[in-house]
Amino acid sequence: MTAAPTPTPSGAPGATEENATTQAGGTAGSGGAGKTAGSDERLVHRPLLQRLLGRPELGAVVGAVAVFVVFSVVAESFLRASSLSTVLYASSTLGIMAVPVALLMIGGEFDLSTGVMVTTSSLVSSMFSYQMTANVWVGVGVSLLVTLGIGLFNGYMLVRTKLPSFIITLGTFLMLTGLNLGLTKLISGTVSTKTISDMEGFASAKALFASELSIGPVGIQVTVVWWLGLVVLATWLLLRTKAGNWIFAVGGGQHTARAVGVPVARTKIGLYLGVALGAWISGQHLLFNYDVVQSGEGVGNELIYIAAAVIGGCLLTGGYGSAVGAAVGAFIFGMTSKGIVYAQWEPDWFKFFLGAMLLVAVLLNAYIRKRAEANR
């Protein structure tokens, strides 16, 4: 698409569309709105290093390296293979949610119901199997449908009411917290579920959601594989498909996106379904790893997922960010929270150290991004 300055009758609508696209793209962070006629600046080949410097996750990667170096120096047990496996596990349980949450944030929306949605997903799975005395895979399938239903509800309410997603998902968050507790108690009689480890299908479901793969002498949790798989999928979706362009466009500005023909409602609902899918995977891990689910769990985790996405370079305003960044953000979080334990720092100060390290990582991230943008 080259901008044609000659106002021919057929060229006029094309020119309007062009303007709209650059506008949407401009907020999406490509940064070169309306540069020149003639050659399109998006098609200019830039050197690899420069391209890398322009990526949203760059700051996070540098931050991750810094955190890694710090703990390698201060905690002697941090660098052991088994320790790294623990850190990866901690990161992956956050990362599985942080990746779809990042996509949602790039699309310009929030979801505050994610933390408890994970618990809902595992509760549904466990209680359905138990109460119906069904093969646990049936519960797993029902749980997928229910969790996607919650995602659909969030997305549909959002596009229909046009209220801020913050409010809508705050409502879902509170409702789910109550439902988790109320229904569990109504059905199981106590606030935690009954054990399903002696039921059919448990072993195979555990293998998929909560097993340990041994690579040489080290065991890697299967959640790490889920996590990396989601990162690859999300990155491909964002950078190589039309849907990815839509996500950036609706996050950059939904009115302009709609004006150029992006199906805004469908994109946003799709993003909420993605989050629900992540919640389902995490929820099944929770169930098959611990066998019994506590209904009060998950509150507060939604902020950690958002934090991981933001550390990874997502903007709170939408339109900018990456899946790899969110994964790195989760890794920084995992490294920091476990590194403090490995370093044997005073446990009463744990939260303070955690907050301070995260703040430093984000500051470093912002600083590098600014430098990278200045150099472009």
């Binding site: 905690a75 047990s77 052991r80 088994s82 320790s83 623990t86 850190v87 596990y89 901690a90 349980t93 359905f128 199997s129 138990y130 109460q131 119906m132 005395t133 069904a134 093969n135 646990v136 895979w137 049936v138 399938g141 029902v142 449908l145 239903g149 917290t177 507790l181 569990t184 009689g189 106590t190 606030v191 935690s192 009954k194 054990t195 002696d198 039921m199 059919e200 299908g201 340990e212 065991g219 929770l286 790893n289 611990y290 019994v292 506590q294 209904s295 009060g296 769990e297 998950g298 509150v299 507060g300 985790n301 929270s337 476990k338 334990v341 490995y342 044997q344 446990p347 009463d348 744990f350």
Partner: protein, 324 residues
């Protein structure tokens, strides 16, 4: 509709021949028989519990069983934030209940509300924590476990088991009673004891943090958790970290009993939450019926009771139905 159809289809596809509801034994609850014929009275309980805490669930079932026997209308409410808990007490006063059961986890914040209830002529019984403030606030009795004494009992038990280095896992940072448990255990324990703060609402975090701690210090031979759900998670962490540590815990649930039975846990300290709920309702009933006062101005202790493998056969069916 589609969901119902699909799940019905899925259901037809697979049933489990083991476990599940089908494998459940019929459990019998208390209070099935006829109760007293004293006039109907209303008793409110206001606790500092957060959402979905197993422990408070058991307290409630004790209270409800007593309520059934004593012809009592039992209202339960809770809030883990002290200011809002005090408001709940206030609304119970406004409702003119005949008796009030309240916990004093944050005594200073509750002082005003409890005093108001006493001034309004409502008999108050405190349960669970805050025993030392109970009489001062004008309550009739306190029924609960002294956390420091319970901790000390754990320290003694660890000495008996010849433990050298223990880790105390605090699942809610800054919770006074959890800190008291660790401090009590530290006081009587002859070995070395360190603490670890974990995020109790995030099980994977609990697991990976305990794992990290065990990996960084392989001398730890005992992990002490302060709530039943965290014991099983710690057992998992121990296995992953390749540690030989013994897992001991405060409070009971079905998983802990199972673990005690198969030897994956050493012992559990039970403070008998059912008793706290049951006795509180019953004591208020007795106060109204017969002007009795329980405890003689001193806290009535419901724990600690150290539970080991040999107690399991006796307790198993009670934890399953959620009263122990």
């Amino acid at each position: 509709m589609a969901v119902a159809l699909t799940s019905a289809a899925l259901l037809a596809a697979g049933c489990s021949s083991s476990g599940g509801k089908g494998g459940e034994e019929n459990s019998s609850g208390a209070g099935g028989g006829k109760g007293v014929n004293t006039p109907r009275m209303t008793i409110a309980m206001v606790s500092h519990s957060g959402e979905g805490d197993t422990f408070w669930d058991i307290v409630q079932s004790g209270a409800k069983d007593a309520a059934r026997k004593d012809n009592v209308q039992f209202d339960y409410s809770h809030d883990d934030e002290a200011g809002r808990q005090a408001q709940l007490v206030q609304s119970a006063i406004d409702k003119k209940v005949d008796g009030l059961i309240v916990t004093l986890a944050k005594p200073d914040a509750m002082k005003g509300a409890v005093k108001k209830a006493v001034d309004a002529g409502i008999p108050v019984i405190t349960i669970n924590s805050g025993g030392e403030h109970s009489a001062g606030f004008g309550a009739i009795s306190h029924i609960g476990q002294d956390e420091a004494i319970a901790g000390e009992a754990v320290g003694d038990e660890l000495n008996k088991r010849d433990r050298k280095k223990a880790l105390c896992v605090i699942h809610e940072q800054g919770n006074v009673s959890l800190e008291e448990r660790c401090a009590g255990a530290k006081k009587t324990f002859d070995g070395e004891m360190s603490t670890l703060n974990v995020d109790g609402t995030n099980m994977p975090d609990v697991q990976s943090s305990v794992e990290a701690k065990l990996q960084s210090d392989s001398d730890i031979d005992t992990v002490l958790t302060l709530g039943a759900p965290f014991a099983a998670t710690s057992a998992k962490a121990k296995e992953k970290a390749g540690s030989k540590a013994e897992i001991d815990t405060f409070d009971l649930n079905a998983q802990v009993v199972k673990g005690l039975k198969d030897g994956s846990f050493g012992f559990a300290v039970d403070q008998q939450p059912y008793l706290q709920g049951y006795e509180a309702v019953d004591a208020l009933w007795l106060h109204s019926y017969n002007a009795n006062e329980l405890g003689g101005g001193k806290p009535v202790l419901t724990g600690p009771a150290v539970v080991t493998k040999k107690d399991v056969p006796r307790l198993e069916k009670y934890t399953k139905r959620g009263t122990r």
